[in-house]
Amino acid sequence: MSAREAKAVKSPVERTPQTLGVHDRELLEMYYYVRLARAVDERMWALQRSGQAAFVISGQGHEGAQVGTVFALDRDKDWLVPFYRSVAAVLVKGMPPAEIFLIQLSKATDPSSGGRQMPGHYGHSGHKILSTSSPVTTQLLHADGIAYAAKLRGTGEVCVTEVGEGATSEGDFHEALNFAAIHRLGVIFLVENNGYAISVPLSKQMAVPNVSARAVGYGIPGVTVDGSHVLDVYVAAREAVARARRGDGPTLLEVNVPRLTAHSSDDRQEKYRSADEIRHTKEHDPVHVFAGELRAWGVLTDAREQEIAERVRRAVDEGTEIAEAAPAVDPATATRYVYYEHNAPPGRGR
C-alpha cells in the first residue's frame, strides 16, 4: 500500500493541540464523531447481515479524514458534496444516525431518496448535503458549481467534496480541479486515499505515490496528511477552509486512510489482499490512533471514554429503532418527481 508509506506532510509529535489552538472540547467532540461514525457503520453492516438491507458500503477507516475535514467547516453555512463512504462526514454535517439508518433500510422516509437509491447515496438539502449518484467523480464538478454560485451571489459559502483515489483517474477530476483553479473557487477536494479502488492497487491507478502531486499542475496547493492523525487533518482542513473563505481558491487535500472492510458487502477482499496486509492496515485505524493521542495529550480519560461510549451507544440504538419502525416505501409513489410537480408538498426541496 504505497500511499500509506508516503510520508505524511506533518508529524503529530512536534505539534500539540495547544500550539495549534485547538480546545479539548473540540477534540473530544471530534473523538465522539469518530466513534459515532464507527458505531453507525458497524450497525449498517449488522443490518445487512441480518437481512434487513440488501447491500452496504461504508467508511470504516475513513472516519478521521472526514471528521477532521468537516469539523473545519461552518456546518450551517457551508456545503458538503459527499460520496458513498461519507458516513462520518454526513454525521458531522448534521445528519442524525436515524437518517442514516433510514437510508440504509430504504424506508419511505429515507431523507436522501425515499428508498429509491442504494444505501450510501447521501443527500439532504436541509443539511446542505448535495444528493449523490453512483458514477464516481461527477460530484467534483457539482462542488465547483456550488462554489461558483456562492462566489457570484456573494454568500461566502465553502464547499467540501469527497472522492476516492481511484476515482481521481476519471476525466471529471481533471476538469473539476482546472475549473476551480481558474476561478479560485472555494472548494476543498478531499481525496480519501485508501490505496485501493475495489481491487485495483494504487500502483495500477497512477504512477505517482500521492494524488496531491497533481495540484501543482493546476496552480493550487496540494497536501497529503495521514488520516489516522485526526488533528493533523483538522489543521490542514482549517487552512484550506480559510483559504477558500478568503477567495484564494481551492485546495487538493489528500488524506491517507486504511480501508478496514471489503469494498462493499458484495466484495471479498481476501482475493486480492494478503491476510498480512489486512492485519497491518488495522494499525492505522483512526479510532485507536486518535484515542491514543488524546490520552497522551491528557485530553481523554477513562471516565470521558465511558461517557462518550454511552452517548454513542444511545444514539445508535435510538437511531436504529426509529428507522426500523419507519414505514416501507409505497410503490404507488414510484412515478412521482420524474419532473417538477406543482402540487408537491412544501418544505424540503427547492
Partner: protein, 327 residues
C-alpha cells in the same frame, strides 16, 4: 413585433431572460468575448459581464457538471454546447446527474437548466458538425427536449425552457440561424413546453416534423398540393414530453402518418412517433406509419454530393407522401 432571424430570436430570449432574472448565467466555449461561434451570445458578455457570461475551458463534462452545482445553489444556468456533436463527453453528467437529480433525491433537489445545443446538417459540417442527437436524449426520463422551427417559437420556447423547473435540452438548428426570418413579438412569447402545433391543415395525410425538417415538410406540402394532395403538417416542437394528443388527433383526421427527421432512421426519434401512432392510433390507420429519415450512415458526409444524398428534403418527403397516399 419585429422581423427577426432565428439566430436573433434566440439571442433576444437570452438577453431578456438575463436582464429579467439575475440568477440566469450563460456558460460555454467561446460564448463570451467572441459571442459564440455562431454569434448567438453576441453582446451578452458586454451587457452582463464575465461572471454571468462565462468563457469556459474546453471541457463539456465540466460545462454541464458545473451547471448542476450552480442549479443546486440557486442559479439558473444556460450552458451552451458548441456543436451537438460535442455533447457526448457530457453524456454521463446529463443522463446520470442532470436528468435524475429530482427523482433520485425524491424531490429534495431540482436541476433547472437549459442546455442550448446547435445541431443538424446541411451546413457543410460533415460527420462531426452535423449530428442530430434527439434520439439519445428524448429517451431519458427527467429531461425535456425541444426543437423550434421558427423565430417566434425559438424565442418563446427558450424563455419557457429557462423558466422551467426541470432541465431542458434546447435544440437549435444551425442551418436555420440565418436561413429564415419572421415576425417575433417583443418581450415574452407564449410557447409552453409540451405542445405540438398544426402548421398547415390537410386531409390526406399527416406529416410530422421538427426543426429544419419542418421547412422541408411545408415545402413538400406545397409540392403535393399541386397534385391535389392535401397534407397536414404538424410541428412536434417539444419531443419530450411528446404531445401525443395532437399527433393522434391529426392521424384520426387523415388516417395516414409520415414522420420526418434528418437523424439516422434506425432507432431514431421517429421510431417512437411511429410506434405511438401504431399502438394508440391503430384503428384510424389506413396505411403504414412511414418514416423519411437520414440514412443509416454516420451523420452527414462532407463532399457536397454526399451531403445532398444524406439530407431529407421536400422532394424526398413528397415522394414518400405520394406512395403513402396511394397505399
Amino acid at each position: 413585433m419585429a422581423d427577426k432571424r432565428y439566430l436573433d430570436a434566440i439571442h433576444d430570449a437570452l438577453h431578456e431572460e438575463m436582464a429579467r432574472d439575475e440568477r440566469v448565467v450563460v456558460l460555454g466555449e467561446d460564448v463570451g468575448r467572441k459571442g459564440g461561434v455562431f454569434g448567438v451570445t453576441d453582446g451578452l458578455f458586454e451587457a452582463f459581464g464575465e461572471d454571468r457570461v462565462v468563457d469556459t475551458p474546453l471541457a463539456e463534462s465540466m460545462i454541464i457538471g458545473v451547471s448542476v452545482g450552480m442549479a443546486a445553489n440557486g442559479l439558473i444556468p444556460v450552458p451552451e454546447i458548441q456543436f451537438a456533436d460535442f455533447i457526448h463527453p457530457a453524456f454521463d453528467q446529463i443522463v446520470s446527474e442532470v436528468a435524475r437529480m429530482r427523482y433520485r433525491s425524491n424531490n429534495d433537489y431540482g436541476c433547472p437548466m437549459t442546455i442550448r445545443v446547435p445541431y443538424g446538417g446541411g451546413v457543410h459540417g460533415a460527420l462531426y458538425h452535423s449530428q442530430s442527437i434527439e434520439a439519445f436524449y428524448a429517451h431519458v426520463p427527467g429531461l425535456k427536449v425541444v426543437a423550434p422551427y421558427s423565430p417566434a417559437d425559438a424565442k418563446g420556447l427558450l424563455k419557457a425552457a429557462i423558466r422551467d423547473h426541470d432541465p431542458v435540452l434546447y435544440l437549435e438548428h444551425k442551418k436555420l440561424y440565418r436561413m429564415i426570418h419572421d415576425q417575433v413579438p417583443d418581450g415574452d412569447v407564449d410557447v409552453p413546453v409540451g405542445h405540438a402545433a398544426v402548421r398547415r391543415p390537410g386531409r390526406d395525410l399527416s406529416i410530422f416534423a421538427y426543426g429544419l425538417m419542418m421547412h422541408e415538410a411545408l415545402g413538400a406540402a406545397d409540392l403535393l398540393a399541386r397534385d391535389g394532395i392535401e397534407a397536414e403538417v404538424v410541428d412536434l416542437r417539444t419531443l419530450r414530453p411528446l404531445d401525443t394528443a395532437t399527433i393522434l388527433d391529426s392521424v384520426a383526421r387523415t388516417s395516414r402518418a409520415l414522420i420526418v427527421h434528418e437523424d439516422n432512421r434506425f432507432g431514431g426519434f421517429g421510431a417512437e412517433v411511429a410506434a405511438t401512432i401504431a399502438e394508440e392510433g391503430f384503428r384510424h390507420l389506413d396505411a403504414p406509419p412511414t418514416r423519411v429519415c437520414g440514412p443509416d450512415v454516420p451523420a452527414v458526409p462532407f463532399a457536397p454530393p454526399l451531403e445532398q444524398w444524406f439530407m431529407p428534403n421536400a422532394e424526398k418527403i413528397a415522394a414518400a407522401a405520394r406512395t403513402l397516399v396511394a397505399y
